[in-house]
């Protein structure tokens, strides 16, 4: 646990909720306050490292209210404290403020989340696909994307022996 006073001042007492599982401490923030929260954690609470930035598709998940969850894993390298910031986005507004201005490391991770889930990060310097080819359509880690794809893996010219 870390000192949450700066966070409470910034977001207000009802601006966020917390939960805990064993030593895994989470902050739940609304999507429109997530940048404030991250900025405060970085500047006032000393979380100087973004460990991971990922997303989850909660389609058909029992008891889930939101479609996508986005998770920021932060580390304070001086004290060793860790915190997980969780937020939720829903269609059609799949948009979050970019954290690249806070941690440079967010660059590729936000591109990966965009690549796999189609969540856009406004203010990202170069938001394009990172793993899949540029011409790929669809977002494969969404639960409504079929495992075997939509024929992308078969969309190539066939070279016969006579013509090569």
């Amino acid at each position: 646990m870390f000192d949450q006073t700066p966070l409470r001042e910034r977001l207000g007492p009802s601006g966020y909720t917390t939960s805990q599982f064993r030593d895994n401490f989470r902050l739940h923030v609304a999507a429109e306050r997530v940048y404030d929260c991250l900025q405060c954690l970085q500047q006032a609470c000393g979380f100087d490292m973004l460990i991971d930035l990922s997303a989850v598709d909660y389609l058909d998940y029992p008891g889930a209210k939101d479609r996508f969850g986005v998770i920021y894993a932060l580390l304070n390298t001086r004290s060793g404290q860790r915190v997980y910031v969780k937020t939720a986005v829903n269609e059609p507004e799949l948009r979050l403020p970019s954290a690249v201005s806070l941690w440079k490391g967010a660059d590729w991770m936000e591109r990966e989340v965009y690549d796999m889930f189609g969540i856009e990060f406004t203010g990202h310097p170069d938001l394009r696909r990172i793993l899949l080819p540029d011409e790929f359509t669809g977002f494969p880690l969404r639960k409504d994307y079929p495992l075997r794809g939509r024929g992308e893996r078969h969309n190539f010219p066939v070279i016969t022996r006579a013509e090569s």
Binding site: P133, L147, R150, H154, F156, V158, T160, R161, S164
Partner: protein, 184 residues
């Protein structure tokens, strides 16, 4: 000698002479993308010694090679690269699909993994296994040498007859059905 040839002369067909030269100096292009690549390296290393069959000169430029060994899974982003490498290799050339993934996609039946490279490039020899042991790869090299010896021609006219795609059709009927279902 019945023909009255002088000593140190023998008669043969040009095809056989070319095949003899080609079989005993295959230069592999290792296209190693996964664990099959490790077995490929082991095959070339001292214990199994691919050099015994004249195929030890691994070149990393396709322009110097005549045997493409696709060792490992090929994803859809890599396939254009593989096709380009194949097209860059000079004639005569052969292709070996090594391991379950290169032959059929293996356990990776997902949107990104090509379900067998023979769908998109011609393949002469398939090596089963996950990954195949070096002995299997050696056996495949020996079999390929046999194939070249039996079917090879000086001007490569046996290649010109292979005008049809040899692998499974790019879109099987069940694949088409799956895509239609996915699109709703």
């Amino acid at each position: 000698m019945a023909l009255g040839l002088p000593e140190n002369l023998f008669l043969t067909r040009l095809d056989a002479a070319a095949n003899w030269a080609r079989t005993n100096s295959l230069w592999p292009m290792p296209f190693a993308t996964a664990c099959c690549g490790i077995e490929l390296m082991a095959t070339a290393a001292s214990r199994h010694d691919l050099a015994r069959f004249g195929a030890e000169v691994m070149r990393f430029s396709p322009r110097q090679c005549d045997l493409l060994i696709v060792a490992g899974r090929v994803v859809m982003k890599m396939l254009p690269v593989l096709q380009r490498i194949w097209l860059q290799m000079p004639e005569p050339k052969w292709c070996m699909s090594m391991g379950a993934c290169a032959c059929s996609g293996g356990v990776f039946d997902t949107y990104a993994v090509v379900q067998g490279v023979d769908r998109f490039i011609p393949v002469d020899m398939y090596v089963p296994g996950c990954p195949p042991r070096p002995e299997q790869l050696l056996r495949a090299v020996i079999d390929l040498q046999d194939k070249i010896r039996q079917t090879g021609t000086l001007n490569g006219k046996e290649f010109r007859t292979r005008t049809r795609p040899e692998g499974p059709r790019p879109l099987e009927s069940d694949e088409v059905r799956r895509i239609r279902e996915a699109l709703g």
